[in-house]
């Protein structure tokens, strides 16, 4: 005898992702449509009042998203949003002569080179809630773990991707800089290819 199982009614939410309007590059109006991928909402409308403890999305080693909730502990923010340092900034050098600066500790023939970091255009980057890949998030790969994983941050080598699940492949965008033009590639595409498995490695995974 078995008791009748009544499947629970699925809870639905009235909170739908609706398009929203924003102004970019000064006066250009733009409609933004949020999209939900693997539970992560992209292009979400920013809150009216910025919340420093707003959860952000990190990635597991295999590329699955995980939400991180920042905490304030003893006056310090822990697990806060990632700081990208200067990885996405562009360096601009300015050369100043003595005549321009007239610094008292500068020789008349000396020149001063000042490096200025220019922030990237975050018009579209700001709509991404997932942590971006930077070289400090690279891992080591290979049998001896002595090869840097550039340009990838996720997935880690020998991760196991399961059917019907969604994983995020992340790479450092500035890795793809054309040597001839010095410009970062504006378009890329991702390939998945079969690899012949080493017979020694085959079937070693404990199911």
């Amino acid at each position: 005898a078995r008791q009748v199982v009544r499947p629970k009614e699925k809870m639905t939410t009235s909170e739908e992702v609706k398009p929203w309007l924003r102004t970019v590059y000064g006066s250009q109006k733009e409609l933004v449509t949020p999209t939900v991928i693997a539970g992560v909402t992209f292009s979400e409308k920013p809150e009216e009042t910025p919340n420093p403890l707003k959860p952000w999305v990190s990635l597991e080693h295999d590329g699955r998203p995980k939400t991180i909730k920042p905490e304030i502990n003893k006056g310090r923010t822990k697990k806060g949003r990632p700081d990208y340092s200067t990885y996405f900034k562009t360096v601009s050098s300015h050369t100043y002569s003595y005549e321009e600066l007239k610094a008292h500790n500068m020789g008349p023939n000396e020149v001063f080179v000042e490096e200025e970091y220019i922030d990237e255009d975050d018009t579209y980057v700001s709509l991404n809630p997932i942590v971006r890949c930077t070289p400090n998030l690279y891992f080591n790969k290979g049998l001896a773990k002595d090869i840097r994983s550039e340009p990838f941050c996720t997935p880690y080598e020998n991760s196991r991707w399961k059917v019907d699940k969604t994983y995020f492949v992340t790479w450092y965008t500035r890795f793809f800089t054309d040597e001839n033009s010095g410009k970062v590639a504006d378009k890329v595409r991702v390939h998945l290819s079969y690899v012949k498995e080493n017979p020694v490695e085959k079937g070693n995974y404990k199911r």
């Binding site: 693997a38 969604t166 001839n180 590639a185 991702v190």
Partner: protein
């Protein structure tokens, strides 16, 4: 155009450096798991010059673990009387056919019991048992055998001392 490549995305903006990939069952080609390489091709590198293994990441795609346990939906369907019991009927039909065959056989033999006559067969078998072997010396197998004729065994002569 890239060898062994089973999935290539569209050209996407290189803004955020991320792309979601949903693993599909057909990529496994009826295997439990497959080793693959993930690679990113920038637009300034042509398909001919692009090598997926140069900066690729090796990983596995797998069917994942399967737990063979009735789900809530399956149990609800069973309770509603919607079942998929074809295997059950197949498994039951085989012994049923065997039992029916033996019952039919029993009645067939019972009905035809009086009409059976195996005397010729039994006679033949009994005659085989009563066969006369004949003389040993005429047997084909032992015809050429040199057998000594019976002679009286030598008698032992007692000496005088023995007496």
């Amino acid at each position: 155009d890239i060898p062994a490549t089973f999935f290539s995305s569209e050209w996407i903006d290189n803004d955020n450096g991320l792309m979601p990939v949903e693993v599909r069952d057909e990529w496994l080609q009826d295997q439990f798991d497959r080793r693959i390489v993930v690679s990113v091709q920038p637009i300034y590198i042509s398909d001919e010059d692009f090598d997926p293994l140069q900066y690729g990441i090796l990983l596995y795609i797998t069917k994942g673990s399967k737990v063979f346990k009735p789900t809530k939906e399956q149990l609800a369907l069973d309770d509603a009387g919607i079942t998929n019991d074809q295997w059950y009927y197949v498994a039951l039909s085989i012994p049923t056919v065997v039992v029916v065959f033996f019952v039919f056989m029993y009645f067939f033999l019972y009905v035809n019991g009086k009409n059976r006559d195996f005397t010729d067969v039994t006679r033949k078998a009994l005659n085989k048992k009563r066969r006369v072997l004949g003389k040993f010396s005429e047997m084909k197998k032992f015809k050429n055998m040199k057998n000594h004729k019976y002679t009286e065994l030598p008698s032992y002569k007692k000496t005088s001392k023995q007496n």
